[in-house]
């Protein structure tokens, strides 16, 4: 059990956005966090990466909570934000170096991985560029390279498919596959349901700060037999109940 979120109540202020959320991500598993705008996906992610502290409940990562040992907890996580954020004063090369230093990686090995990743995402000739010169898609790729540079046990990827070109989406999915085989877990939030349907092992459907339902696609289909076949249909039917 890599990540275990149990009975978390939380949010940015005293008013809770998340109302008693529980789910888990197992080793070697890709879990899709699905929900409308404002459903609580990003809030959930912010709790998992330790940016927010839950009002109630616990988040455990391989047996460690952030309160017990924040460094051991954070060491296991690599995060790719929805909107790329970069240090404006650092070049691409320096971003990679800072990541290696922060995660205390062996530089030689890490650079070998880095060069491979840079080549995949066609950034290998831009090592001395400043973030100001990157397009949005390139910045997102920098985030991906930095994250996959680390041997993290849990990858948290917030809406990866928007803004990336189809080639990069494909490369990212391959990377995720590879890390999954090595036993890493991935928590990914997205709106792109047909891609999610094809690649995720399980789904957590968030709505209005609550976990509406979770499980594999066949489990979801069994739970809502009249909704339809695809994740898209299931999700739409689930939110419709709420709207009427």
């Amino acid at each position: 059990m890599a990540l275990e979120v149990s009975h978390v109540v939380g949010g940015y202020s005293q008013i809770p956005v998340l109302k008693d959320i529980s789910f888990d991500v197992k080793d070697g598993e890709l879990v899709g966090l699905i929900g409308l705008n404002g459903a609580g996906k990003s809030t959930t992610i912010n709790h998992v990466i330790g940016l927010l502290t839950p009002h109630q409940g616990t988040i455990t990562l391989n047996g460690v909570t952030i309160d017990q040992d924040s460094q051991a907890y954070k060491q296991q996580i690599a995060y790719i934000p929805e909107t790329p954020v970069l240090y404006q004063e650092l070049t691409l090369r320096e971003h990679l170096e800072v990541t290696m230093m922060a995660y205390d990686l062996d530089h030689e090995k890490a650079w070998a991985t880095a060069h491979k990743l840079l080549k995949t995402f066609r950034l290998d000739n831009k090592l001395d560029w400043f973030p100001a010169n990157f397009s949005k898609g390139m910045k997102q790729k920098v985030m991906i390279v930095c994250a996959f540079l680390t041997p993290a046990k849990l990858f948290i990827i917030d809406e990866p498919f928007l803004g990336l070109d189809p080639l990069a989406v494909n490369d990212l999915l391959n990377l995720i596959e590879e890390r999954k085989r090595q036993g890493a877990s991935i928590l990914m939030s997205t709106h792109v349901l047909d891609t999610a349907q094809r690649y995720c092992d399980r789904f957590v459907l968030l709505h209005d700060g609550q976990v509406k339902t979770e499980g594999t696609l066949s489990e979801l289909q069994a739970a809502l037999p009249e909704a339809g076949e695809s994740l898209n249909d299931i999700y739409l039917s689930m939110t419709k109940v709420d709207r009427s």
Partner: protein, 408 residues
Amino acid sequence: MTGLFKTRLQRHLREMAKYLRLVFNDFFVFALLFFLGGLGLGYSNVLKQLHGHEWWAPLVALLVLTIVAQIGRLATLIEDADRVFLLPKERAMHAYLVAARRYSQVIAQATQVIAIFLLSPFLAVTLGWSVTPVLLLLVAQVALKDALLRMDLASAYQVTGQARMNRWPIKWALSLLVLACGLWITPLVAVILAIVADIAVAVWFQQHWQTQQIRWREQIKIEDNRMLGIYRFFNMFTEVPMLSGTIKRRRYLDGIFHLIKPTHEQTYLYLFSRGMARGTEFSGLIVRLTVIGMLLLYFIRGEWLPVILAALFIYLIGFQLLPFFHQYDDIVFTHVYPVAAAQRLKSFVTLMTLILSVTAVLLWIVVVLANQQLLPAVVTLIVEALEVWYLARIYTPQRLKRSAENRA
């Protein structure tokens, strides 16, 4: 569209008034009066020493007036979002831009009038000019500025193709030509030339603008730069939130950066040192204050005054560097990286010690050079060392810990 400009102008003027109130505080006005008084006195003394018929007098006047003619830019108050929202109204923008030019005239022409007014005693003494030629020169100068602003306006459109008619060599050449004629031949020629130029640009522009597009991106950039200049000026006196500074690569510092070993413990020293040096906001502050301090200390002698001043400048720099610790708080990775907060603080203290030590040594060298006595040199060194140690090692961590607790 003129309505839009009026609304924006009101907002702009309100903002400027807010900053001007902060800049012209009582103390500054007092200092400024003294400064202007001193300048005036110096000017009148110089005038008394002139006997007329100096061959270089028209050259000085030409240079001064040419430079003054470039002062006062076209203030369009165009915003970045305009290229999306006002694009469908492109033809109507003409009225807006004309209104913008009208407003820009006020400050620009006031500057011209004041310059001629200040220069008139000089012209009277050296060239023996009476009121009439001075007034004619004033008309020429105003007409010239009118033409230059009209060129700026025309350049907002793509009428001139890729080449712009308001490039600085063209503006300078026109100004030099008009004013040289005025100073060496007779002011009346300058008046005629300036008015002819003004009318020529006006007629040409009138015939062309309707078939042309506005250079949105360029105009937005120009306006942004203009506002940036204004904010930079205000930033010398007060905090301007719109100003985030720019980033320079500063490759020549790479040698120093390489001294930082790429180990886990140094993560934030690596980040902070590069961020501080390459961002202009904090590095500019350090350099400015250090240079001012060095200049001041060079001219100040005494037993205690240099010591106090050196200590004051180190304190000023150190104190203003503290907010840099929170520079990267908005970047999520600052919180996600598995680096202990204590480590981050330690890196910052190290950087602070380094910067303040370098400043202290520079100031100390100036004190030694200026005084060339043992006592001030030794006392300054001891006081500086104690201050750097206390400020960086004791005060900074205490203060930042407290502010971190307040934020949580």
